[in-house]
């Protein structure tokens, strides 16, 4: 029991240090970000259909996810990402997922792949048509904790806004070989450690915005089929909030639970995001 507490404290300390460092470093960056534009995993898996605005960079330095599986096993994931609005309604993004994994007495830390993605927002929401977006991801097998194979994912997103709430629906399919099924709590060493890679995923989220407080609260529910062969469909629910801290910084935090499957687990997320521009990349900005 004491050992568990020590491990937990160590994980929280690591997460706290990362959050502190990234939040502190973000304070000096002159930029603007938007709490209203939810991203994958920030704070919940289901995201809206909009992309980073054109010419903007969005840097996510501290997307931390701490997961506690049955049996008291902790996994800590960190995926710094940077997105760039390269074209109208189009962003490209690269992520560097880093995993800290416990398996029994064994602890592993390393890069769990390189995640490249391109996302395109097809339209802006109107009275008759929801906002629609599509995204393609490629998780390259780079790093000590990466999967053995590359995985390509394709995601469709829709966002509908009412005067009360926004609704988001996501559907995703991942191509690539199935990974061998592993024992409970050993993370998904056949797949990328600490990362949720599913053969398919379908789900939805609702969010409620408090514009005068620059606050968004959200809740999600989705079902997914893990990439491991023979796995059953897993259902996950989560909730979180996203807050604009200043014109230059947004924070998000979430709490969720995988309800079933081989590895039911609680997880916490925390992230920061801010945007900036590079004048030399902008026409007439020199």
């Amino acid at each position: 029991m004491k050992q568990k507490s020590t491990r937990l404290a160590r994980h929280f300390s690591a997460a706290g240090l990362i959050i502190f460092l990234t939040t502190w470093s973000a304070a000096g960056v002159a930029a603007q970000t938007d709490f209203y534009n939810t991203d994958r995993g920030r704070p919940v898996q289901i995201e809206d259909a909009y992309v980073t605005e054109r010419h903007a960079f969005e840097l996510k330095l501290a997307p931390v996810r701490l997961e506690r599986s049955n049996g008291g096993i902790y996994n800590l994931g960190l995926e710094p990402e940077i997105a760039y609005g390269i074209l109208p309604r189009t962003q490209i993004e690269v992520g560097f997922p880093i995993a800290f994994v416990e398996a029994g007495q064994q602890r592993n830390t390393g890069l769990a792949g390189l995640d490249f993605s391109a996302m395109h927002n097809l339209n802006v929401e109107t009275e008759t048509v929801p906002a629609l977006g599509v995204r393609a991801d490629l998780l390259a097998p780079v790093g000590s904790l990466a999967a053995e194979h590359a995985f390509a994912s394709f995601t469709g997103m829709a966002t509908r806004t009412t005067s009360w709430i926004r609704l988001h629906v996501n559907g995703q399919y991942t191509a690539g070989p199935s990974a061998p099924r592993t024992s409970v709590g050993a993370s998904r060493v056949g797949g990328p450690a600490g990362l949720e890679v599913s053969r398919w995923l379908v789900g939805g989220a609702i969010d409620k915005t408090y514009p005068l407080s620059a606050l968004l609260i959200t809740a999600e529910f989705y079902g997914s089929k893990p990439i491991e062969s023979g796995s059953r469909v897993e259902y996950t629910t989560g909730a979180g909030l996203r807050h604009q801290q200043s014109p230059t910084l947004a924070l998000d935090a979430g709490l969720g639970r995988r309800l079933n499957g081989d590895n039911p687990a609680w997880f916490l997320t925390f992230g920061t995001a801010y945007a900036f521009g590079i004048r030399s990349l902008i026409p007439f900005g020199r």
Binding site: Y36, E53, H55, E127, T162, P211, S246
Partner: protein, 533 residues
Amino acid sequence: MRSNGDMIRRKMPRAIGLFAGLVLALAARPPVAGAQWSRAYEQFYMPGDFNWTFRRTYPGADRLFNAFDYGHAILYEKLYTRPGADVSLLEDKEYNFITKKLLVSPPNLPLEEAAIEVAYAKMAPEVKMMFDWAHLFHRQVYDVLADEKLAQAEKDATIARLLSYYKTRPDLAFSSSPKSMDLMEGQPYSLAFRNKYPKFNGLIWGYHWLQVGLYEPLMTGKNLEERQAGVTAAVARFRQMLENAPEHMPRIMPMTAAVAPTFAKRYPEAAIIFDNLHSMHDVVSDILTNPKVPQNRKRAEILRAAALYRDRTSYVMTPAEWMEMAQMMGIENMGGPAVGILAGWPTPTIARGQSAAEAMKNMEGMAGMKMDSSSSAGAAGMAGMDHANTNMMGMNMDRSAMMQMHTRMMEDPVIRERVMRDTTMRRLMNEMMQSMPADHEMNMSTMMPSRARPSAPSSSTKNRSRTATSAKTRNSASMTKSSTTGKAKPSTTKGASTTKKAAAKPAPKPAMPPMDHSKMKMPGMEMPPAKKN
């Protein structure tokens, strides 16, 4: 655990199906005006060290702007979603919330307007983005002007770059060509908002007064302390406008050239863009308010107006005419100046709800007339005066006094130059001289070396407009401001005291009946003494 998992497995697909059905039901809402497919997109603001300087240096004013975002957004949302609602929804409920809560403690951050004007944003996302893009430009100009590290030349260069960047989005950028008031006030739906919601309309114009007015202390202040004092004074004046609303709120749309003349002169294109932006705000309000535009035509009309405000060809006037119009509309109708603010209030010359054209008509009708502030206070609702039917020469006018005045005016090199550059004025002068004694005519001819020339030396519209501006501005300014030349006639100076003397005169007098010139004495005749306040 297994049984629990089985239960989840059985029920969850149903839950997902239910959720998907809900989304589809929302997505399948009956179309209002056919399927709307919009590919408008947002763009990042121009990076620079100056960004957010205004927020850091003038936090009180900056936070007010955040609250202004809410005012615009909730207005459009309510007008669009509740067209049949009682007037009190906006005039009382929303107005009270905004003025008693929101403006008292404004939000710390710029608002996400799409979360407030949900239905409106979906109805006209292209126009919402036009507003957003212009607001970004607006705020960045504050940042540049507030940046104490930038020299004036650097500020000029940076604002020029901001302007260029703004124009890189022709699908969103308001034209930098001035648009005539006819586009705002001469449409079938025009004036609906100001007449139905005078208080909220006054609030919006109060916003616009401050938004353009703050440029003036930022421009005219010689150092940080002066700029801060000027901004503080302007913000305080804005808050005063909210008291006893809509009494002291602007009665016509504040024009940048009138409220922030220093800014408008240095950055005319930016000033024009802001005027077009504010005009478009009013147009959207009118379209949403006016039942003559059916609900399923709102989007089409708003998009039409937006296109007209973006192009460079329709409803355009020259910058000189735009400047002239701003002066002719009368700053006292726009909430007064944003710098050099006095304790009292300027006295408007029009009644609330009237158009800018009516304001100009009134100002034109009064131009050149010797009136004190008490008289102009009663000008609200005054019918335009028709000078065409006034035979001044037949009104026992003292000819020698006229000739004396004539000579004195033409001795002034500035006046002489302006008369010579204005074909109409020169023609009138020539005609008048023909009715004068020969010696006077000869004397005047020596002052007008080009009198014999048949046509105007300049035929360019720009020059014509500029000349006309000067002449008319001088006339209208004579009713509102002190003459800068110091050569104005005493009567002009009295008229110039309108703004200052109005201090102790908060309420305009009842509408003044049309004036009968046949019973008035003209120059050389005694006028009633100006009332002292």
